[in-house]
Symmetry: C2
Subunit: 523 residues, 2 copies
């Protein structure tokens, strides 16, 4: 979508295509379209005293979902978690917590207060993710709003406004004004050969004018929508000077996209977060799984014997084996590849094919919530520096301190991954102070997390890559069980990196197993 | 802005104007524009034991601000409030509260729970309203987000989609796609005679494509941005069918405007609300004004004697008079007109000139938060029925019940004003159930408030009308004191109906008085 075209190419395009003509037409079924996500929790057959043993490999949210749901209907479940904590990429760091990055272990030094935490991985819960929400409700996890988009937050690009940050709303209001002028003219073309009625044409023009705050002649000359240069309450509001589109176009295209688009797709619904940290969802599951989770349990081997399946693991120097009916496995595929198993070759090969993302996040505790003095309450500031984003915490509103996301590099391959902790901190400070002059002075107790170096994970979410026939085949193979072994997690979904995907993957696999159990039981 | 034009008029317009040409240009001063609202609290001279008596007429937020600030520097203040409560149009109703509408008194029957309240008047606190926020901070009023815009909320128009409600995001995504196609074509016109460089043109096209999710050829054919028809996690996402612009144009223009525009102007900054009800701000002030507020104190006369000013009031049948140095008066101007006074004729005449708005709000307690099952969390549903809006409470998320705004008619003159309480309730039910079928069954304990009939107020916010020379003169007259008497409140501001305006008005008047006191003191 973002492929740039030259002016010449553009003219050819216009010549070659009919424009809006094909968009016009009558009808289409317009019923209130159902919510995108339906509750997917399977209707499992209760065992009623029959014994079924299940081993869950990995205490990520898909593994915990499995142990929780199967436990409800009578399965005997054990979760083997290799690290000291459950949750995987659902990880909240607070005062005294260990960040277990290989070669860069850190103890978090944030003040010991409930609002001073950092969600190192999962940080946003779209309200359309029904299954995740349902578990929050069921497990008593209290939620609050997460502010993703805030038009009062900033945009920074060295080429824009001489490198001085601008408010999102100043960029977007002016860009929209210009775009509306284009539409106003473009409509001239379109309506000549389109069967708009006068009434439709008038409506469309009215909407276009309102979209951009154009004057009666269809001109944009600034707006009061992006606030006032001064006044507004006791004295008259003074309109801010119009910003010329040419000046806005100095910014990077991706940055303009971030400004102009509101929340879309996964972030279009309301976003939420558990009050006090994302890992409250994990804690909610663990309250229901007491005695069922083994920590520091490193899986060494998985052997499917046809009528049963063995899992061998190492715990505190002891080698232990559990014989089970089924295994559900959310160990990252690229780590599972290195664990002894007797899976079919095509299954092993499919596991090997999945690449992992490299994501980096950094955060500072800020001595003062200086952004609130600049009328920024929550939301994201965009920059085209390597830190990419700054997230202002909304929670803790008007308190003294807050923990701010200071870098979020989800593209992989950036310099952050290869830096020492101190170099990362310095990069975050020097880039942050280009946006907020007081940044360096305010920042304390910085933490950094490179997910592809995190112990027991060594990677962020699965990246399946382009929908090639080969990738597609591998996906199909891994979604199906290998004997009594099910791969689960967001890694086995069409939309990795979301909790909802991990949960739905677990539901899918349990439903599949349930059919087998029903068949065995002659049900 | 919303004046419709016919196709013929439109063609003339296009012919008559040069389009985007004038928008293009180099430069303009683009510094990070300051926040629109500055803290306006005046630097008052402390009295240091000198005695100064002030009477504040009316316990609205401007009156309380005055008593609070003057009290801090040693003034002896008394607030005379005619009703049983302070706050004026800052009014939160909970279990057992009286709604003091003349001819329609109601006792609120909501369940007695903290999240089951209704803000009958002021309901949104823009984060740019610095003075209001500062008082929240100073008075220990805890705030939370208010969700104004929610693209998952609904749009309803009998002419749109056969009267079946649609999600806001389905309308806006499809409308934007069409608009982007128009721009894509319109750019052709524009760039021919504009000095865009190839690079600028490419950027602009890229931004336009991304704005509307157009394909490589600049065509819009639906999007995944408004969610999926199905799938998305375990199975592939299925794109929703494109909705044709002609079908969207069936809706009322004003409704389309509400859909397409995000929060703008006063609601563009983050919006907040005090946790537990807007009147917590009033309670915050009252904690600082103990013993200084007289309730049921009806002002009968104000007489300025040049060197002092007398206020006579009736309290529980007693006629009392206070002699003061200054009076600050936030009694609604149209009521003050009927109270005996010796103000100059032009001042009285200016008071008479201000019209008042008629606003109507209604609310139901809902037995279940059925909207959350439809993935609506907070925000506004727009309809072109007389109820105009439905507001879904975000607070109380995932609890059983919630109080929903069921009608908000701010236009005045609607039928609601002239209906009995029962007729209003029935209108709210029958219109609400066109949007949510289960509405009638879920609704209980409805309340209705017609502000122009509320006791001691008889009107909503001041409506100054067009900026005619006469109105302008009246504004100037009323902003200045009449002798020792200051009119205050949002009624004496350029933007009535906001708490910020009322507060700034009080600040302005106190600063004016402070200059006089300093002069008297020879300071």
């Amino acid at each position: 979508m973002s492929k740039p075209v030259t002016r010449r190419e553009f003219l050819n395009l216009i010549a070659a295509t009919g424009g809006v003509a094909t968009v016009l037409g009558v009808g289409g079924a317009l019923g209130l379209i159902p919510a995108s996500t339906q509750a997917s929790v399977p209707n499992l057959m209760p065992l009623n005293g029959q014994r079924r043993r299940v081993v869950v490999l990995g205490g990520g949210i898909s593994g915990l979902t499995t142990a929780y749901e199967l436990g409800k209907v009578g399965y005997d479940c054990t979760v083997l978690e290799s690290s000291h904590r459950c949750g995987g990429r659902i990880m909240t760091v607070r005062h005294g917590d260990l960040i277990d990055e290989i070669g860069n272990p850190q103890i978090c030094k944030f003040d010991d207060e409930p609002h001073l935490y950092f969600n190192c991985g999962a940080a946003r819960l779209p309200s359309s993710h029904k299954n995740t929400l349902n578990y929050c409700k069921e497990l008593g996890v209290e939620l609050e709003m997460f502010i993703n988009e805030n038009k009062h937050a900033l945009v920074h690009d060295p080429d824009l406004n001489g490198g001085k940050p601008m408010r999102n709303i100043d960029v977007s209001t002016n860009l929209k004004g210009f775009m509306a002028e284009l539409m106003f003219k473009g409509f001239n073309n379109a309506e000549l050969d389109q069967p708009f009625t006068d009434d439709e044409a008038a409506k469309l023009l009215a909407v276009i004018r309102q979209f951009g705050d154009l004057d009666e002649d269809g001109r944009y000359s600034g707006s009061l929508r992006n606030g006032y240069a001064s006044g507004g309450f006791i004295s008259d509001p003074v309109q801010k000077e119009m910003i010329h589109v040419r000046d806005l176009l100095k910014a990077n295209t991706g940055l303009l996209r971030s400004v102009l688009l509101e929340n879309e797709g996964e972030t279009a619904p309301m976003l939420m977060q558990p009050i006090g940290g994302m890992d409250n969802i994990i804690k909610g599951f663990l309250r229901k799984l007491e005695g069922k989770v083994e920590y520091h349990a490193m899986v060494m081997a998985v052997h499917d014997h046809g009528d049963q399946i063995d899992v061998t693991y190492d715990q505190n120097g002891q080698r232990l084996t559990i014989t089970a009916d089924y295994v559900f496995n959310c160990i990252p595929s690229h780590l599972m590849v290195g664990i002894e198993n007797n899976f079919p070759e095509e299954y092993r090969s499919a596991m090997k094919s999945i690449r992992r993302g490299e994501a980096f996040k950094g955060a500072f505790q800020m001595k003062q919530r200086f952004w609130e003095n600049e009328e920024i309450y929550g939301g994201i500031t965009w920059t085209n520096q390597p830190i990419r984003q700054i997230w202002y915490p909304f929670h803790g509103l008007l308190k003294q301190k807050g923990v701010m996301l200071a870098a979020y590099d989800y593209g992989g391959g950036s310099g952050f991954m290869r830096m020492t902790h101190d170099e990362r901190i310095e990069a975050m400070l020097s880039q942050g102070e280009k946006i907020h002059p007081q940044y360096r002075e305010m920042a304390e107790h910085g933490i950094t997390i490179a997910w592809h170096r995190m112990n027991h994970m060594l990677g962020c979410s699965a990246r399946w890559g382009a929908r090639t026939p080969e990738n597609e085949r591998n996906y199909q193979i891994l979604q199906q069980p290998a004997g009594r072994h099910y791969m689960i997690g967001d890694q086995i979904s069409r939309k990795s990196a979301w909790m909802e995907s991990a949960i739905q993957s677990a539901h899918w696999a349990m439903a599949h197993m349930d059919q087998r159990v029903r068949a065995e039981a002659g049900a």
